[in-house]
């Protein structure tokens, strides 16, 4: 292997940090992402957690990964495979090597490739690299020993010292990509603000890792830079994941509407972080209630909306099953409610930490009766903010429950986000009753244009009324079993949803002359966009129509879908969105690409499949 300190400039690079779930790989990955974002690179990250909280140390099931894609220009996905794989132990190498490109470099801690650890990872020999037939560049560094030496005088105990191994690996990666360590130092100082000693030790170890790479030039042929080519717009940025962005969107919408934000919830992977995030913000008046079950989470949110708050509930697919009766109640009560579904693998408990798009039909239809409900599917981690804001605005202005769909991939994945200015966001105006209506008002009177009923909240004099789950007379609001009235009310509820204005779906890429239109919805936007880019770079005429507003569909849906010779609907289920489109667009017969692996799409798989369709 040549030792060469040449510096090569890259357009983009994918780094995957992996180790035991207690090894701090998420932190190392986060810091590296932020350092890169700070210099203006675009980032897209994906943490890959094991399902077990603490699997036995060193075991194959206990490996935790964090992948980040760094680009000189825009990056849309965390990348299929990595250019650098950090494997802190044999189990990580064994399980994560499949995510490494043939040309990728691998960093291992040789101190952890001892007989005991190799055995835990079910290696047969004492040479893991050889046993796996790995031909990649390997930076084999005695990380554990060097961290121990580095912190020998720190006064820390052995266990605490070993927890700093991740920072050594981070330092080494920073050297490999010529990253400035100042940002990392500041982040650690911030993180350990109450333990300055710990911050110092971590910073020292990062520097040691960096210096080790620099002094030995390790066993790689190059170090790299990723010069920012496509400047992001000016502004202040932060790194944000989808769950946090969703929580922020709800907070922003409640503030804009001047309403109390109420979240009724029950812990469930991968949605719990939304509850965690909102629970922190009591200083903004946010009220979160961890309820006795999913049912109460949703039911209490309906109660909160009745009382005049913005009622929200957060869950994942299994929770939607339980919430469906209270969601349905909100449909007939015609009260605002935002139901967040952070999708995971199903059915039943399924794959709790993995990502799918298999809840679409459940969200659209999983209720008794004709129960129309708007569905918005966020398309990226940062879009979760806008999608959540839109969901709250729609719920409040149209007096309806709205399902906001995200998924484990965009909920946990993060990207650089330009801080929004709430003043630039559209106003939220719920259809409150006015004092002129007093004495001449009934709860199911509607705005003739929008079909939306007016909102009178308890505590308002002159508007005492009852709502309920029984069918109501369309005029008086009294219980009614009249056949014509029920038919009318069924239509009124449907029309109200159909009339909700949503923006047209945008066609990206070769919108005028594409041979193939790729269609998707929700969290797959990045992968579909990247696959389109790759095909266009190969000279093909390809466009992408990616849907965020699923119900109601944008007005231009049919014209877009009918415009192109070939259309492929790609989704992480067995064709739910394609089926929905077929139901709504006459004579629509697309190709389908369906994959349900619990993992994000691989762009390479998409390109291969789309190219086959393209060439047919």
């Amino acid at each position: 292997m040549t030792k060469n300190a040449n510096v090569e400039d890259l357009d983009h690079v994918v780094v995957r940090f992996s180790g035991d779930s207690g090894d701090g790989m998420q932190l190392a990955g986060n810091i590296f992402s932020t350092i890169s974002a700070t210099v203006g690179n675009d980032i897209c990250t994906f943490p890959d957690y094991p399902a077990d909280i603490r699997a036995p140390q060193g075991s194959l099931t206990g490996v935790s990964g964090f992948q980040v894609h760094i680009g000189a220009g825009k990056v849309f996905t965390p990348g299929d495979k990595c250019d650098v794989l950090v494997a802190m132990n044999p189990a990580a190498l064994k399980t994560q090597y499949k995510f490494c490109k043939p040309t990728g470099a691998i960093i291992i801690d040789t101190d952890c490739f001892n007989e005991v650890d190799l055995k835990k990872a079910e290696f047969q020999t004492l040479n893991a690299i050889e046993e796996m037939g790995i031909k990649n560049d390997v930076i084999a560094a005695p990380i554990t020993q060097m961290v121990k030496d580095c912190l020998a005088d720190s006064g820390m105990d052995n266990k605490a010292i070993l927890k700093c191994r991740n920072m050594f690996a981070l330092g080494l990666v920073c050297w490999l990509f010529n990253r400035d360590l100042t940002v990392a130092a500041n982040m650690l100082k911030e993180k350990f603000v109450k333990k300055p000693g710990l911050a110092e030790s971590n910073i020292k170890v990062i520097q040691a890792g960096y210096d080790y790479g620099h002094n030995t030039h390790s066993s790689v042929s190059h170090t790299y830079t990723i010069e920012t080519k496509e400047k992001k717009g000016k502004g202040i940025f932060m790194d944000i994941n989808g769950n946090k962005a969703t929580a922020y969107g709800m907070i922003a919408a409640a503030e804009k509407a001047g309403l109390k934000l109420y979240l009724g919830s029950y812990p469930i992977t991968p949605a719990t972080d939304v509850l965690h995030e909102l629970a922190k913000h009591k200083s903004l008046g946010v009220t979160t209630v961890q309820c006795e079950d999913e049912i109460a989470g949703c039911a209490s949110a309906v109660g909160a909306s009745f009382a005049g708050a913005l009622g929200c509930t957060s869950t994942s697919g299994p929770g939607i099953c339980l919430k469906s009766e209270a969601m349905n109640l909100a449909v007939i009560l015609e009260l605002p409610l935002v139901v967040l579904d952070v999708q995971r693998g199903g059915p039943a408990t399924g794959l709790p930490t993995k990502s799918e798009q298999t809840d679409l039909l459940q969200c659209l239809f999983g209720r008794n009766g004709e129960s129309p409900m708007p569905v918005i599917a966020a398309i990226s981690p940062t879009d979760c903010f806008d999608a959540a804001y839109s969901a709250c605005k729609m719920a409040l202005e149209h007096m309806t429950p709205v399902v906001l769909m995200t998924d484990a991939f965009i909920a946990n994945g993060s990207a650089a986000w330009k801080l929004p200015n709430l003043e630039e966001y559209p106003a939220i105006n719920p259809p409150y009753v006015t004092s002129e209506m007093k004495g001449n008002w009934a709860p199911y009177q509607r705005n003739p244009e929008t079909g939306v009923r007016y909102w009178a909240t308890p505590g308002t004099e002159g508007f005492c009324h009852i709502l309920g789950g029984l069918e109501k007379d369309n005029k008086t609001g009294a219980i009614s079993t009249n056949p014509e009235n029920h038919d009318l009310m069924t239509h009124l509820r449907q029309d109200k949803i159909d009339k909700i204005p949503v923006p047209d779906v945008e066609v990206l890429g070769d919108k005028d002359d594409a041979e193939l239109l790729i269609v998707g919805f929700g969290g797959t936007f990045g992968h579909l966009h990247a696959s389109m880019d790759e095909m266009r770079a190969a000279g093909k005429k390809v466009a992408l129509a990616h849907f965020k507003f699923v119900n109601p569909l944008p007005k231009n849906t049919a014209s877009v879908l009918k415009k192109y010779k070939k259309v492929v609907v790609a989704e992480q289920n067995l064709g739910q969105f394609a089926g929905w489109l077929r139901m709504k667009v006459d004579n629509f017969a697309p190709y389908q690409f369906n994959e349900v692996k619990g993992q994000p799409f691989a762009v390479s798989d998409l390109v291969k499949a789309f190219t086959e369709i393209y060439n047919k």
Binding site: F237, K282, S283, V289, V302, A307, N421, I466
Partner: protein
């Protein structure tokens, strides 16, 4: 003096069967609300599903007739979102203790400031006569033609087991007794459970026969009053005394028992041991306890959450969304 009369809380024509306990309870609730004097527009009455859950339709307040079993959960969100509202939650024994049992116990445990009415006729009426979780063992119904083989819940036990702080009981046909406990429930800050013993004239006629009439109650019930000796009987000839770990009915004047030996009711006692014994008394050996059995002050969830919000507001430096954004690690692109 309240500026309201029962009429101010009345709406529509109830459609329950003639003689149903719900009619009696509704009238008492409207009278109690008039005496309490809170404006109808500051009151929300929230029910689930079942015969008794139709009640909000006949109230001139804000109301919601929701879904089966979820009234307590919906009322919880309503109260927390707007603590200024007075929230009454109305459920039957099926709604409240079967499908809604989980919400019943957790609402008590959390101590949400709700008035929780449990209309107990020991039967499913709206589905036409199946046994309920309060039907006695062996109860014959359409769904238990050979008698049930399960024990019923005793609502007080559930309430106390969930660390409830208020439990009272009245017979629906006894308007003064009902109004009294409803007023006490309103006065109590926190979850207040009122068990209303009521008859289902169609499917479970006579279920509370022994205390249905004034004469029956004089003989078979004891009206508990905080601070008063627990004396009962047609001629006030009996009293409750403690014996070992239990209660015993003693006849005053016999075996040297005088009025001074009779236990004095303490509804405010934090330890619920004796209150539970009172609540579980049943004939023929014991009278059925009516009135306020337990009424103990405790912090409410809704107050505590408001206090926490104020406390955090005073400590945190960010108070709006834009300020929140700046609490993150950020960088600037110039």
């Amino acid at each position: 003096m309240s500026e309201y009369t029962a009429k101010d809380f009345k709406k529509g024509q109830p459609r329950w069967c003639p003689g149903c306990g719900d009619h009696f309870f509704l009238a008492s609730l409207q009278k109690a609300m008039a005496e309490i004097g809170i404006a109808p527009y500051d009151i929300a009455v929230i029910s689930g599903i079942g015969c008794s859950s139709r009640l909000p339709h006949y109230m001139a307040t804000y109301g919601m007739n929701t879904i089966h079993g979820r009234a307590a959960a919906i009322a919880t969100g309503c109260k927390i979102a707007n603590p200024n509202l007075t929230v009454w939650q109305v459920s039957g024994d099926g709604d409240g203790l079967a499908i809604g049992g989980n919400h019943f116990i957790h609402t008590n445990r959390r101590n949400i400031d709700l008035n929780m009415i449990l209309l107990n006729n020991r039967i499913y009426g709206l589905t036409k006569g199946q046994y309920s979780p309060t039907s006695p063992r062996g109860f014959v119904s359409k769904s238990s033609p050979y008698g049930t083989v399960e024990d019923p819940f005793r609502p007080a036990e559930l309430c106390f087991g969930a660390r409830g702080h208020f439990f009272a009981r009245a017979v629906a046909t006894d308007a003064p007794g009902t109004i009294e406990i409803l007023k006490a429930a309103q006065a109590h800050k926190g979850a207040s459970v009122c068990e209303i013993l009521q008859n289902c004239i169609i499917f479970n006629n006579g279920t509370h026969e022994s205390v249905h009439t004034p004469e029956g109650r004089a003989k078979n019930a004891i009206y508990l009053e905080h601070g008063k000796p627990m004396i009962f009987g047609e001629n006030k000839e009996f009293g409750l005394v403690q014996e070992g770990f239990g209660l015993k009915v003693a006849k005053i004047g016999e075996n040297g028992i005088t009025e001074k030996d009779i236990l004095v009711h303490d509804a405010h006692c934090e330890d619920n041991t004796l209150q539970l014994k009172l609540a579980l008394m049943e004939g023929p050996d014991f009278p059925i306890a009516l009135g306020v059995i337990r009424d103990v002050e405790a912090p409410t969830y809704n107050d505590a959450i408001e206090e926490q919000i104020e406390d955090v507001k005073s400590k945190k430096t960010y108070h709006n969304f834009q300020e929140l954004l700046m609490t993150n690690d950020t960088w600037e692109v110039k």
